[in-house]
């Protein structure tokens, strides 16, 4: 879709959105609630008409067509099953509209019931199904028309966490099996990261970044993306100097929040005096009780006191108060058996360090 905009009064729900989604892709629209994801999805389905822009499907602008003429089907957040029809007739609904032969209706419904693992529930009314089962019916019903694109609007948000996980995996398997394009809307970054081929991160009606989960996590395009995806330590900084380093550039940044300079590698050459924002993910920090034995030039080292350790089995998260008062997040995986509990406790003096290559310059504010 190109340059799609939609306003409600003076409020811009979609602001010049351009996304290219490839055939067969599991594509996620990710953003906080109210950022315009549903509006965008409804524009693709045909329930809402953008003020500007075009939405193309296989090279053809679909905006002039009503919803029933688009090769796109939707799984609604509220399931939207027909309460007066049983599971079989709900799924058969699109086929009945096309007046398909009874035998072919039976075969297809059975096939899609099997796909969503609901065989044997044909004669139940939607009111008798659990939330997860209703969602499966909705998925089967949306797929039976064999659309080019399946739209899913936060399909799992009404389910509990465990079920959400397993249905997500199942959804991914269904996608692999039938190979059509999925456009999946969610506000849950871990959902999007785990199943998507590519993700578009949205905020306030704009697309901030489109890329693979890896790109979006490791090289966020804006501060918002860095903060929204996973956890991070993000600071404004000023470039002090920049020299070539192996294939890239090594910059020295003055970070006021850390009260010191740090080193970071970046592809681009940055003029001294440039304002940037700098991020380093908590799991890339090392936390130790003793200072590292060797301190090379490309290691950034700070000392501090553990302000808040949060133990969660497979890992611990530490909020470390640095000497200058700033709190920095560190996540440490517990890869080995800990007989006597975590080695680092509340109020311990610790050292936090990371390699220049693990830091990342997110935004260059002025050049």
């Amino acid at each position: 879709m190109k340059n799609v905009s939609r306003s409600y009064g003076t409020f811009k729900a979609l602001d010049d959105v351009s996304i290219e989604i490839r055939k067969g892709e599991f594509f996620s629209l990710l953003g906080p609630s109210g950022c315009g994801k549903t509006t965008l999805l409804r524009s693709i389905a045909g329930f809402d008409t953008p003020d500007e822009g075009v939405i193309e499907l296989d090279g053809r602008n679909i905006i002039p067509y009503p919803p029933e003429k688009r090769l796109v089907n939707t799984v609604f957040q509220s399931y939207a099953l027909f309460p007066h029809l049983n599971v079989f007739e709900n799924i058969a609904f699109p086929l009945r509209l096309k007046k398909e032969k009874e035998s072919s209706v039976r075969d297809k419904v059975a096939q899609y019931l099997k796909l969503v693992q609901l065989s044997g529930h044909e004669h139940k009314k939607p009111a008798m199904l659990s939330g997860g089962q209703k969602q499966r019916v909705a998925i089967a019903r949306a797929l039976i028309n064999e659309p080019s694109v399946l739209l899913l609007d936060e399909p799992l948000s009404a389910l509990d966490a465990k079920l959400r996980q397993s249905l997500l995996v199942e959804l991914d398997q269904i996608h692999d099996k039938i190979g059509i394009t999925f456009i999946y809307v969610t506000h849950d970054q871990s959902e999007a990261l785990s199943v998507s081929d590519r993700i578009a991160v949205m905020n306030e009606g704009k697309v901030l970044q489109t890329g693979t989960p890896y790109e979006i996590y490791e090289s966020p395009a804006t501060d918002f993306v860095a903060r929204f995806i996973g956890e991070t330590n993000l600071f404004p900084a000023t470039v002090v100097s920049c020299v070539p380093f192996e294939q890239t550039h090594m910059s020295t940044l003055q970070v006021d929040a850390l009260g010191s300079v740090i080193r970071v590698t970046d592809d681009d050459y940055l003029e001294a005096g440039t304002h940037v924002s700098f991020t380093v993910r908590p799991e890339k920090l090392k936390i130790t009780s003793h200072p590292p034995l060797t301190v090379s030039k490309d290691i950034n080292l700070f000392s501090g006191i553990v302000d808040e350790p949060i133990y969660s089995g497979f890992q611990s998260k530490y909020y470390v108060a640095l000497a200058c008062g700033t709190i920095i997040k560190v996540i440490q995986q517990h890869a080995t058996y800990m007989d006597e509990g975590p080695a680092i406790n509340w109020k311990d003096s610790v050292f936090v360090s990371w390699s220049a290559e693990d830091g990342y310059i997110v935004e260059v504010i002025d050049r």
Binding site: T74, F93, R141, A142
Partner: protein, 269 residues
């Protein structure tokens, strides 16, 4: 044990509540029992003498006027209820579908005929019909009944529509239905129970209406309630007692049939 104490409590409560229940039933139905008893009495006065079916014979074989009045009532009840159901359901669906700005006001307006005294509605209808020079007769009764039935059906259908999930209409469109198909295959089946109970209510109200009909009926358009009233003016004939029993029986039969019917509909939706 729990179950034991529960049993004793129901037994104690049962005696008292049973007494109340019997008293209430007596209060409600004693007049009917009296009428039924008299309908089988040979005497014309208010006492039971000997058992006789002569009033029933008279009712069925010698009451042509009564039966033509009954026919009028039935025709008007069924037709006005049907028309009211179609119009009111259409209005309710339309108001939901197109999200009219003034929908609350329509809701309030539709209450008016329910709270207005029937006499006033009757008189205003009469004035209206004479203003447009429509001769009083079956047509005017039909129009009047349709009018006063509309708000009741409208309310019952709207109540059903309030529970209706509008996103199912979008789902239907999404799956290939055009606007008309989504109306016929999704909206109407979902509100059918509401439409049916609205229809039944309209039939009942039309059958039993006396006041409004009294104002808008003309020569040759007597309905059953009007006819019964005119009979009473010449003294209560025991034929009316017989008629009452026949009506009670048939209404009970219809009510039971409808209950089963509505239950199967409810079970299937």
């Amino acid at each position: 044990m729990n179950s034991v104490s529960f049993d004793t409590r129901t037994r104690h409560g049962a005696t008292f509540s049973n007494v109340v229940l019997i008293l209430v039933i007596l209060f409600l139905f004693l007049p009917l029992f009296v009428i039924i008893t008299y309908s089988f009495s040979a005497s014309k006065s208010m006492e039971f003498t000997t058992f006789s079916l002569k009033w029933y014979t008279q009712l069925f074989f010698d009451s042509d006027e009564l039966w033509s009045a009954f026919l009028n009532s039935a025709v008007i009840a069924l037709s006005s209820a049907a028309v009211a159901t179609v119009i009111a359901s259409g209005a309710a669906i339309g108001i939901m579908w197109y999200r009219f700005k003034g929908r609350q006001y329509i809701q309030i307006l539709s209450f008016l005929p329910m709270v207005l005294p029937e006499v006033i509605i009757g008189i205003s209808m009469l004035i209206f019909f004479s203003a447009v020079r429509l001769p009083l007769g079956l047509i005017t009764i039909f129009i009047a009944h349709t009018t006063f039935n509309l708000p009741f059906v409208y309310l019952l259908v709207t109540a059903r529509l309030d529970e209706f999930d509008i996103s199912t209409v979008e789902a239907a469109r999404d799956l290939g239905a055009n606007e008309a198909q989504s109306l016929v295959k999704v909206v109407i089946p979902s509100i059918l129970p509401g439409m049916l109970s609205g229809f039944l209510m309209a039939v009942t109200m039309s059958l039993e209406d006396f006041v409004i009909t009294f104002f808008v009926s003309g020569p040759g358009s007597t309905t059953l309630p009007l006819y019964v009233y005119s009979m009473i003016r010449y003294g209560v004939s025991p034929v009316i007692n017989a008629l009452s029993f026949v009506l009670i029986l048939s209404i009970m039969l219809i009510a039971f049939a409808m209950r089963r019917f509505l239950k199967t509909i409810a079970a299937s939706s």
